[in-house]
Amino acid sequence: MQLTPLFTLIGRALVRTVLMLWLVASVTFLAIRALPGNPVDVWVQELQGTGLSAEDAREQATRLLKIDVDQPLWTQYLDYLGNLARGDLGDSVILSPGTPVTDMLGERLLWTLFSISFALVIGFLIGLYLGSLAAYRRGTWVDRLITNVSALMSSIPAVLLGIVLTFCVGVAWDLVPIQSLRGAYSPDVQPGFDLDFILSALAHVIAPGIVYILVSFGTWALVMRSNALSVLADDHVGQARARGLSERTIRVAFVQRNARLPLITGFAISMGFVVSGSVLVERIFVYPGVGQLLADALARRDYTVMQGVVVATTITVLLATAIADALYGWLDPRTRIEQHA
C-alpha cells in the first residue's frame, strides 16, 4: 500500500489554511469597501468635521490605516495583504484611534474563547449524554422529552434566551445580582493567576455560558440520538450482545465511541459560528469579548477593527478544524495514518 508521507499531508493542510485565510481576508476587504457610503470617505469627512483641512484629514487617515486611501483599490488591497502577512491588522480608527487592532483583539479574543469553549464543551457533553440516553430509551417518555426539549432549545435564538434569562433571573425574580456580573471579572480583583481572580472570572462567565450551553446542547443531542440509533442497529452491537458483553460495555465501547465520531468536526466548526454569534450575547451580558468589539466596530464603522475581528474568527475556525481533524484521526483508526505498512 502506498502511504502518503506525513509531511506531505501537513504541507497540504498548510496550503489549504493559507488559501482559506487569503480568501476570507480578500472578501472582507472588498465587502467592507462595498458598504454603502465608503467608510473611508465617511471617516475623512468626520475628521474634516472636527476642523481639519481636507489634506490633513486624508493624511491622518493614511497614517492610521497604514494604507494610502488615495491609491487605487488594488494597491490598497496589496498593502493590506502585505500588512496581514506581517501580522499587522492596522490601527483602530474610531473606537480607540491609534491602538493596534491586534492588541485590541488579543485582549478580547481571550475572553470570548474562554467563555465559549468553556460553555460549548459542557453543552457538547450534555448533548452527547442526552442524545444517547434518548436513543437507548427510544419511544419512551424520556426519549420524547429529550427530543422535544432539544428541538425547542436549538431553535431559540441566543439573544432572545439571553434577554429572557436576564429578565427572569436578574430582574423579575431577582435571584442573581446580574448587575454585578458585568464584565469578565469583578473590578475589585486584580488579574493574575490566583484563586480570587479565577473564581471571579468563573462567576462572570456563568451568565453568557448558560446561554451558550442552552442554545447548543439541543443540536448535539438530536444528532447524537440519530447517530446512536443507527449504531444500535449495526450488526456489531447485536453481535456484542450475543457474546454476552454487558450493556455498559456496549454503550461505552460500541455505541458512544462510534456515534460521537461524526460530531467532532461539527463541534469544531460550531466554535467559529458561536464566536460570530457571540456579538449579541456579549452585548446583553456586557461581556468584554470579541463579539462586543465587533458590535461596537460595526456601529461606529471602525472598519480596521471589523476586518480584524473577521480575520481572527477565521483563524479560530481554521485552527479548531485542524485540531478536530487531528482528534478524528486519533479517535477513528480507519482514518489514522498507519506508520507500518
Binding site: D234, H236, G238, Q239, A242, G244, L245, T249, A253, P333
Partner: protein, 336 residues
C-alpha cells in the same frame, strides 16, 4: 425417518413459531419449526431469502429484534446434562450462558466487528463477560486464530478494516469458538466471499469440527455449502420446513417439488442438465396463499394443494416431506 444418532443432542428446537408485528400488519416468518442437532453433526437450513431461515436462527439465539415475538416453541440446550430452554431463560441468564453453549457466526461478519476496536479487544471483552481470565483467553484466542489459519499476533493487533473478507470470517469463527460452545449457528457462512475463499473457509469449519466435536447449524441458500458441510438438510419454504432428510438423500434425490426446483436452479459441475429457475416469486408472508404455500409455483399442484391447510410433514422414502402429491405417491406404493 432419520436414524437417531448415537450422539446426544446439543440443540433441540421444537414447534418454533415467530411473528413480526408492526402497526399495520403481522407477518408469520416461522411456523412450527422443529429441528435437533446431535453432537459433532451439522444441520443445514436451506431456502430462498424470505423463507424464514434467518429468523429461525435469530430466534434460536435469542437475538430477534424487538418487532418479533416468539409465539410458541422451545429451544433446548443441555449443558452438562442440565436441560435449559433458551426462550424461557431470564435475560441476564441468557446473556451469561448463550455464548458458552451456542455461538454465532453472523451473515457478513464484515459488519459484525466494532470498527474502532482492535480484534484482540473483541476476544478480551468476550472473555471478561464470561469470567474467563485475561491470560487464558489470550492464549486460547491465539490457538484458535492459528487453527483458522491466521497469523495470531498480527491479527490480534489489527483493526477490522485492515482485514480481508475471508480473514474477518475466520476471525468471526475463532471468536465463536472462544468459549468452546457445543453448537455454532453459521448464518450464510460463505455468501460474501469469493469461490476460492468459500472453499477454504468451509474446509476450516470441517477441520474444527473434526478436532473439537462442535456441532453446526448452517443457514444457507447455497446448496453447495449445504452439500459440503451438512449431515442433515431441512428445506424451508414460507416459514415452514417442507422436506427433511440426510444431506445425501435430499440433495441427490429431492422429493419436495420446491427442493427439486432449488437443485435444478443451482449450476453444477457434475451435471449436464440445464439450469432452470423456479417460476414466480416467494409468497408474501403476510398474505400466504391458501393450501400449500408453494402451489402457485408448483407444476404438480392439483385441487387439494390449492385449498385447505398446508400439508403436514409426513414420512416418505426414509425422510419427511410436506407435500400432498408426494404423500399420495408413497401411499400408492413407492416413488413414481
Amino acid at each position: 425417518m432419520i436414524a437417531p444418532s448415537a450422539e446426544p443432542l446439543v440443540l433441540d428446537v421444537s414447534g418454533l413459531t415467530v411473528e413480526y408485528r408492526d402497526a399495520v400488519r403481522t407477518v408469520r416468518a416461522v411456523t412450527g419449526l422443529s429441528l435437533s442437532v446431535a453432537r459433532g453433526r451439522t444441520v443445514a437450513l436451506i431456502g430462498e431469502s424470505g423463507s424464514g431461515k434467518t429468523t429461525a436462527a435469530l430466534a434460536i439465539l435469542g437475538m430477534l429484534p424487538g418487532s418479533a415475538t416468539v409465539l410458541s416453541g422451545s429451544v433446548a440446550v443441555t449443558p452438562a446434562g442440565r436441560r435449559l430452554d433458551l426462550l424461557r431463560l431470564p435475560r441476564r441468564e441468557l446473556r451469561a450462558l448463550r455464548w458458552q453453549h451456542i455461538a454465532y457466526v453472523p451473515q457478513g461478519s464484515i459488519s459484525s466487528l466494532n470498527p474502532i476496536q482492535r480484534i484482540g479487544r473483541h476476544f478480551q471483552q468476550t472473555a471478561e463477560a464470561h469470567a474467563l481470565g485475561r491470560r487464558a483467553a489470550e492464549a486460547r484466542a491465539m490457538e484458535l486464530l492459528a487453527a483458522v489459519h491466521l497469523e495470531p499476533r498480527r491479527i490480534w493487533t489489527s483493526y477490522p478494516h485492515e482485514l480481508s473478507g475471508g480473514t474477518r470470517q475466520r476471525v468471526a469463527i475463532a471468536l465463536a469458538m472462544l468459549l468452546e460452545p457445543e453448537v455454532i449457528v453459521l448464518d450464510e457462512p460463505t455468501t460474501a466471499l469469493d469461490v476460492l475463499t468459500q472453499e477454504a473457509v468451509l474446509t476450516t469449519l470441517l477441520e474444527l469440527q473434526a478436532a473439537t466435536g462442535v456441532s453446526y447449524l448452517a443457514i444457507t441458500h447455497d446448496l453447495s455449502v449445504a452439500g459440503a458441510v451438512a449431515d442433515e438438510v431441512i428445506t424451508m419454504y414460507a416459514g415452514r420446513a417442507v422436506e427433511r432428510g440426510t444431506a445425501e438423500q435430499v440433495l441427490a434425490d429431492p422429493l419436495h417439488p420446491y427442493t427439486a426446483g432449488l437443485l435444478r436452479s443451482t449450476p453444477s459441475v457434475d451435471s449436464d442438465l440445464p439450469v432452470q429457475s423456479i417460476g414466480g416469486h416467494p409468497p408474501s408472508l403476510s398474505d400466504l396463499p391458501p393450501g400449500c404455500s408453494f402451489h402457485p409455483r408448483c407444476g404438480l399442484a392439483d385441487e387439494r394443494c390449492r385449498s385447505g391447510g398446508p400439508p403436514a410433514l409426513l414420512p416418505a422414502d426414509s425422510r419427511t416431506v410436506a407435500c400432498h402429491r408426494v404423500s399420495e405417491r408413497v401411499a400408492a406404493g413407492g416413488p413414481g
